[in-house]
Symmetry: C2
């Protein structure tokens, strides 16, 4: 029996091996520390171009790490061994916008017209902030999901894909604010620089303690809340489009890639 | 009669107005100084998803600035007034990989299934390097096209899109090398950091004096040649795919956007 602390030190390839045998079904926060984790959205080819244009027009919440060709479940860039049909701990399957299954593999749902989108996740800069000595309240000992909110900022719509931007928020020590903004700016594929700083009401968040997902936010006097585009956005937008088929990762059970976080810094 | 020096100071919107009336048909190097110029490739929708995945997999030569929905010739991000069918000084039309026309507008070629790709151009960081005091031999007084070469680096292929990476090269003073690398790295959508530094033979360039396009390169003793992914790549790859229809800008007659170069810095 491997404990979670050991998963932290393991290589993603080995953890994916366990996942493939259904020996790891848990959330991936803090697992394979230092490697990029990605959000997954799988949709039919007929909607894929518009969805890709949607992501390109809304790069802060929807940074594209990799897109597969129709019918291809294997990756070229994020991993040379992963199979997206079996290598995530758990999935959600939606038909017409309704969740119809939460399986541990999606072999039975796979089709030759499916296109997989792997999208950046702020866990990467949480890791880089943490090792740079930045205090992150939602990461006590291990990483967890930050505070997540639906805002009143409308994404740039494309075809059936439209809806509000979802953001992740973190209370940041004022003394560390410049450093935090510099670090996340160096990772444009991991949501990049903040979309809002300081006044949550201006983006439609009336009470930061009322999160839509994740940790409740508590802001101390020496802190300012900072908000970033969140990878929940593309999934939420794809869901609202009520496609005949949409498959996503189960919340907090991300795809573990073989790429290291630091590889994604524009300036190291 | 407006001379070229005046075009340098004009707003892109005003120059596009002249272009639309066929009153400006020249190259755009040094025109609307400080504003982003973009490469254009227009292809049928049936190939657009694979071409967009190709660009995503080869971001150094093919950085995507904007993609239009099928049949839409107007932009949302790079300009709120431009029409891609009339607002470039000159175009090239290819059928089955053969150039069939070099028109000043493409109204007669436009179809409801065409998708336009606007791709980043290194003229942006040439401008930023220049105003930062970096010596650029190919920009004496005004900007011109740098030295351009076909390399032996194969792009990551997708569907019918494959071929060698085309690069632009510049001899850089050794004393300014760190600064140059830092500046271009801050512009990932304008080809970003170099793909090669120092030994052109390693990327298949036997003689830097033999360019495929642009200025001949002369390297002084206090200089090192630096090479970046070049926006000629996606056009060359689309051309090799011998699509039934491909429309590009005429070389050096770029799309003039309303966005300023500095807006594209990941860290300002």
């Amino acid at each position: 029996m491997i404990n979670r602390e050991q998963f932290r030190e393991m290589h993603p390839k080995d953890i994916r091996g366990l996942i493939r045998k259904n020996d790891f079904k848990e959330h991936t926060m803090g697992v394979a520390d230092g490697f990029v984790q990605a959000n997954l959205a799988i949709i039919p080819e007929k909607h894929a171009l518009e969805f890709m244009i949607f992501c390109q027009r809304n790069p802060k919440p929807c940074p594209i790490l990799e897109v597969t060709e129709p019918g291809v479940s294997r990756l070229k860039y994020l991993s040379d061994s992963a199979d997206l049909r079996t290598d995530l701990p758990q999935y959600r399957v939606f038909k017409g916008g309704k969740c119809v299954d939460e399986p541990y593999e999606i072999l039975e749902y796979w089709r030759n017209d499916l296109v997989a989108f792997l999208l950046g996740c702020s866990a990467t800069f949480d890791h880089v902030l943490h090792v740079s000595g930045v205090t992150l309240k939602h990461c006590k000992g291990t990483y967890t999901v930050p505070s997540i909110y639906v805002t009143n900022i409308q994404c740039e719509p494309v075809g059936p894909f439209e809806g509000p931007m979802v953001v992740s928020g973190r209370p940041i020590k004022i003394a560390q604010m410049s450093q935090v903004i510099q670090i996340c700016s160096r990772y444009p594929l991991m949501h990049g620089s903040p979309i809002h700083i300081g006044n949550p009401r201006l983006i439609g968040i009336e009470d930061v303690k009322k999160v839509d997902w994740g940790e409740k936010m508590e802001i101390s006097e020496d802190e300012i809340p900072i908000f970033w585009g969140c990878g929940v956005t593309p999934q939420s937008v794809a869901l609202n489009a009520k496609l005949d088929l949409l498959i996503t990762h189960y919340p907090a059970k991300m795809f573990l890639s073989d790429r290291r976080n630091y590889e994604f810094a524009v300036i190291s």
